[in-house]
């Protein structure tokens, strides 16, 4: 353990625990997932940072969306995100979730992921290297330290707007609202 951080551990143990135990759902939407196996196995060994892949969203608090998001997978992404226990952090991986990337004029992909679920950070690039995931994780630590990784709070307060965007993309949603709709805009 880094001795400089002992004081932080005593001041805010829960925040530090959330920082160093990022259990991740790697959402395999597109080509970005090819960078993840080297990251989680012996070569780059993400477990050093406390980043471990989990099999179900109920165990996870980091949501990594790797690659383009088609309209069909958006439905699964929203359901997965809503199943994760709070606090939860989302990171978009690659150019495609940011602004569509090379699929910028496709009829079937979502261009801006952060209109549908809140995103705490982006990894730009096509493709980003595995090291970029570690850069993102350390940035996320800083954000958690400063209380700036508040995507799940934004989702709660602006849920009506997010839900309206989701319904515009997907039509009628078959699951009930997660939060009461009258809050927010």
């Amino acid at each position: 353990m880094d001795r400089n951080q002992l004081a932080k551990w005593f001041q805010a143990p829960t925040k530090m625990a959330h920082k160093y135990s990022l259990h991740a759902v790697y959402f395999c939407t597109g080509c970005g997932i090819i960078e993840v196996p080297p990251v989680i196995t012996a070569r780059w060994d993400a477990e050093r940072f406390g980043v471990i892949p989990t099999a179900t969203p109920r165990h996870a608090n980091l949501f990594l969306i790797t690659g383009y998001v088609s309209v069909k997978t958006l439905r699964a992404i929203i359901r997965t995100y809503e199943q994760m226990p709070e606090p939860k952090f989302t990171v978009g991986f690659g150019s495609c979730p940011i602004n569509g990337g090379m699929y910028w004029d496709s009829y079937n992909t979502i261009k801006h992921l952060d209109r549908y679920i809140p995103v705490d950070g982006w990894i730009a690039g096509c493709m980003p290297r595995p090291e970029a995931i570690f850069v993102a994780v350390t940035h996320l630590w800083t954000l958690i330290d400063k209380d700036m990784a508040d995507g799940y709070k934004r989702y709660r307060t602006n849920y009506a707007a997010y839900r309206a965007n989701q319904e515009r993309a997907l039509g009628e949603l078959e699951w009930p609202p997660l939060f009461p709709m009258e809050r927010g805009r």
Binding site: M1, P13, T14, M16, A17, H18, Y20, S21, H23, A42, D45, E47, R48, G50, T54, A55, T56, R58, H59, N61, Q83, M84, P85, E86, P87
Partner: protein, 269 residues
């Protein structure tokens, strides 16, 4: 574990960080039985821990002994089964059926081993068995019980639920099995329960077959040695299928344990 893979790996206290994180997260309950099954399982394992002597410390080992431990050990998979079944997740149901099948697999040799130990020492009290071993030496090194000891070593990975018997959790196949629907504090409790059941399996071995210990430090050291050995097995083996696991458990460990029991009876004459 990571060092066996030649990786750098997480720090040793990573499980503590995980538990702390999980306790502070908001879990979702799936019904009354979901909560109560978890409590039942956790209570069962805590009671068993109280009955097992830990070095010199033995809170409740005067009463009941091995028979009580055997009965209470059934509560652990039962509670998890009730609780995971309430969540109505198909992966959880598959995991529960695998857990019960695996329990059926390792309980046959376990019963034979315990029967051999009880017959040899003529006692059902764990404390008495430990003190008898202090006079005669560890029972895994003595002639009639060496086969029972070997059989216990063979079923140990199955009791701990690690590879090659990781059929219950199997994250790649059935997405963590019974744990699939636990989130937040529920997962923390489930993890604690899993750790307690591992503690019970190892400390039963150390108490009954490796002579126990007179003070907690030595006892802890012995448990650590067994645990590290099991980790080596865990790191080296792939996962078996369910029916392969049961076939293995009912063939070799059961056979060895049965021969061990006959040996104990014959030598005891």
């Amino acid at each position: 574990m990571a060092r066996i893979h030649w990786r750098y790996g997480p720090p040793l206290y990573q499980p503590l960080i995980d538990i702390l994180r999980l306790f502070t997260q908001r879990g979702v309950s799936h019904g009354r039985l979901f909560d109560l099954g978890m409590v039942l399982s956790l209570a069962g394992s805590l009671v068993v821990v109280l009955f097992l002597p830990f070095g010199g410390i033995s809170p409740m080992s005067g009463s009941g002994g091995l028979l009580v431990v055997l009965y209470m050990m059934l509560l652990m998979p039962l509670g998890i089964a009730l609780s995971g079944g309430e969540a109505a997740n198909p992966n959880a149901s598959i995991g529960i059926s695998r857990k019960l099948i695996l329990a059926m697999g390792y309980e046959v040799p376990l019963l034979l081993i315990l029967l051999a130990v009880m017959t040899h020492y003529g006692s059902i009290s764990i404390a008495e068995i430990v003190s008898a071993q202090r006079r005669t030496g560890a029972s895994i090194a003595s002639v009639p019980l060496v086969l029972s000891g070997i059989a216990y070593v063979l079923i140990m990975p199955a009791m701990l639920g690690v590879r090659p018997f990781e059929v219950v959790q199997a994250p790649q196949e059935i997405s963590s099995g019974p744990m699939a629907e636990y989130g937040g504090a529920y997962l923390a409790l489930a993890t604690v329960q899993h750790a307690l059941s591992a503690f019970i399996a190892i400390s039963l071995f150390v108490n009954l077959l490796w002579g126990g210990a007179s003070n907690p430090a030595v006892f802890f050291l012995k448990m650590l040695v067994v645990f590290v050995l099991v980790l080596f097995v865990n790191a080296a083996f792939p996962r078996l299928r369910v029916e392969q696991a049961v076939r293995y458990l009912w063939r070799w460990p059961s056979l060895i344990a049965f021969i061990g029991l006959i040996l104990v009876v014959v030598v005891g004459r």
